[in-house]
């Protein structure tokens, strides 16, 4: 069996402040795999990827990249990995083409090849109009794009991307995902991806690891994780707009009482949680769906609802079920 491209064994990270960012984390990413790290803020995702990059020392445990111990060779990842950091770029004075060209040359590319690579990337992502602009004068999303291109330049065998599509518009996001899938297909690139976007994750990731409080809470392919929820479907209910502003101001006594009843009814459903004010999710087995719908469609209940829908299990449901925190 081939060695994993990225391997962590019992990695623990405790910061000087005493915060435990990672607790005995073990994971593997294999060649050509897109492995996703999901988790709420503070779960330890960025800490983990920074340790994989050799930018941070683990308190204990081992991290191997392409079989090389990163702890003993902290400069090795820089030779094999294209890294996209979560933080914005403050290299104000570079023009976009200069920054990308310098990144390519610093990665060891020869001048002509670096120039060709930069031109190819800029055209692929429709960033031609940004070429001669100063990085410091770009919008937030444009800066993110440039930073991402700097990570992609040179087609490294491994990519570590920390929330790469934040602040990108939907068209660019699509281009990024298509390019990553293309790299995986054509070059066997291994990608470790940190993301909050469970919808995109579901479309792109081969395997997912859900972190919370520094620990692995769940791991597997998106399909495997969804099956952990069984065949249950999700009922999403949104209470009528007036009801969310406070019944005492906008509803008469009869309506307020009806609303309170509806709320109690919904919260009594299996696995019910109010993910946002006025928005309730509940879960039911397929055999229970029709009785659930009857309940929702009852006139007294229906008049208190703005919208409802029934959805098969998604990665988002797994995320919510595992982390039990809802959304940021």
């Amino acid at each position: 069996m081939a060695l994993p491209v990225i391997e962590t064994r019992d990695v623990i990270k405790v910061y000087r402040s005493g915060v435990i960012a990672n607790r005995s984390l073990s994971l593997e990413a294999h060649e050509g795999e897109i492995l996703g790290l999901l988790g709420p803020n503070g779960a330890g995702k960025t800490t983990l990827v920074r340790m994989v990059m050799g930018l941070l020392r683990p308190t204990s445990g081992t991290i191997r990249l392409l079989g090389v111990d990163v702890g003993r060779n902290p400069t090795f990842p820089s030779t094999k990995v294209g890294y996209y950091a979560q933080h914005p770029l403050y290299l104000w004075a570079y023009k976009v083409r200069e920054l990308l060209y310098h990144a390519a040359r610093l990665k060891g590319m020869l001048p002509r090849a670096a120039l060709a690579e930069v031109n190819d990337l800029v055209e692929r992502f429709g960033a031609d109009r940004l070429r001669e602009r100063l990085v410091g004068r770009l919008s937030g999303g444009e800066k993110r794009l440039v930073l991402l291109l700097a990570a992609l330049v040179g087609k490294p065998p491994v990519l570590v991307l920390d929330e790469p599509t934040n602040e990108l518009d939907p068209v660019l996001r699509q281009s990024v995902w298509n390019h990553l899938l293309d790299l995986r297909q054509s070059h066997g690139t291994t990608i470790l991806l940190v993301t909050h976007n469970v919808f995109e994750a579901e479309r792109v990731l081969d395997r997912v690891i859900i972190l919370d409080s520094g620990e692995v809470k769940a791991s597997g392919t998106p399909g495997e994780l969804r099956r952990r929820l069984g065949e249950r479907v999700r009922l999403e209910v949104r209470l009528a707009a007036t009801s969310t502003t406070g019944p005492s101001q906008t509803l008469g006594p009869a309506d307020a009482e009806r609303l309170a009843l509806v709320r109690r009814l919904l919260h009594d459903l299996p696995g019910a949680q109010e993910v946002r004010p006025g928005q309730v999710w509940a879960y039911a087995n397929p055999s229970e769906v029709s009785s659930l719908l009857h309940l929702v469609m009852a006139p007294d209940v229906r008049m208190m609802l703005e919208d409802y829908r029934v959805i098969p299990p998604t990665l988002e449901d797994v995320y919510v079920a595992v982390t039990r925190r809802g959304f940021e």
């Binding site: 050799g54 930018l55 941070l56 770029l89 290299l91 004075a93 200069e98 040359r105 930073l147």
Partner: protein
Amino acid sequence: MSPSRDAVSSEPGRLAEADSEIVTTSSRVAGLRKSLTDFWLILCGQMLEMRIRWFWFVVQMTFVPLVFVVFLWLLLGRTNPEAMLYVITGNVTQSLATAGMLSLGQEIGSMKDYHTFDFFAALPVGKVAFVMATLVRSMLFTLPSALLVLIVGSLCFGLSFTFHPVLLLVVPLGGLALSGLGALVGFYSPNGRVASLATQVLNPLIVFLAPVFVPRSALPPAIAIPSALVPTTHFAEALRAGLRGTVDGQTWTALAILAGFSLLSVWIVSSKIEWRSRD
């Protein structure tokens, strides 16, 4: 010199050894070429800052030294040229020597604050190339101001300066000698503010514990004796000799000591600083 492949083709063991030596030599050459390329690219990138800061750079490089020299001239006139020589050359010494330490420490600290440092740390860039590029940039930004002080100082106080070729060695070695200290401060400070404070605390120590503004004979023995261990002592003495055209054996001794401190700085940066694995 590596043995040729033809000469040892009949001896497989020696062929492997020869191949290994050729590969090692090739690797070293490739490594050196990469380091020089990295140095050049990072230096060019850092010089690009002039695009957006040129106005304030011009103001800082002209206004501050002009005010300093003109103020002294208005206050003291040409009453004591010898003292003014030490003040003017001392100012130049302080600017150039501490450009390496101050700027390096503060620059690296602020790079960490803005996460720019992570951008370079995540690329296959050598520590030495990175530090040297930052140092050279600082020195280049400081040189115009130093030259202006010398020119205006010579006009105001009737001083006569020469440009001995030894200055081509003195200036870079003077900056390099303190670069190790600046790099230590920058890399190990938790943030830019601490790095700035640390360098500002160190700056008067390396200036006033050395005969930068006065002759060594004017320093009290408690300072004069240990001043030999401070790089700015030798930088000031070599710089003064080069500017006065009085280069002698002592000047070359000072240069050799500066070279020693410079090698120490390079060793500190290459061997003792872990810039990528930080808590």
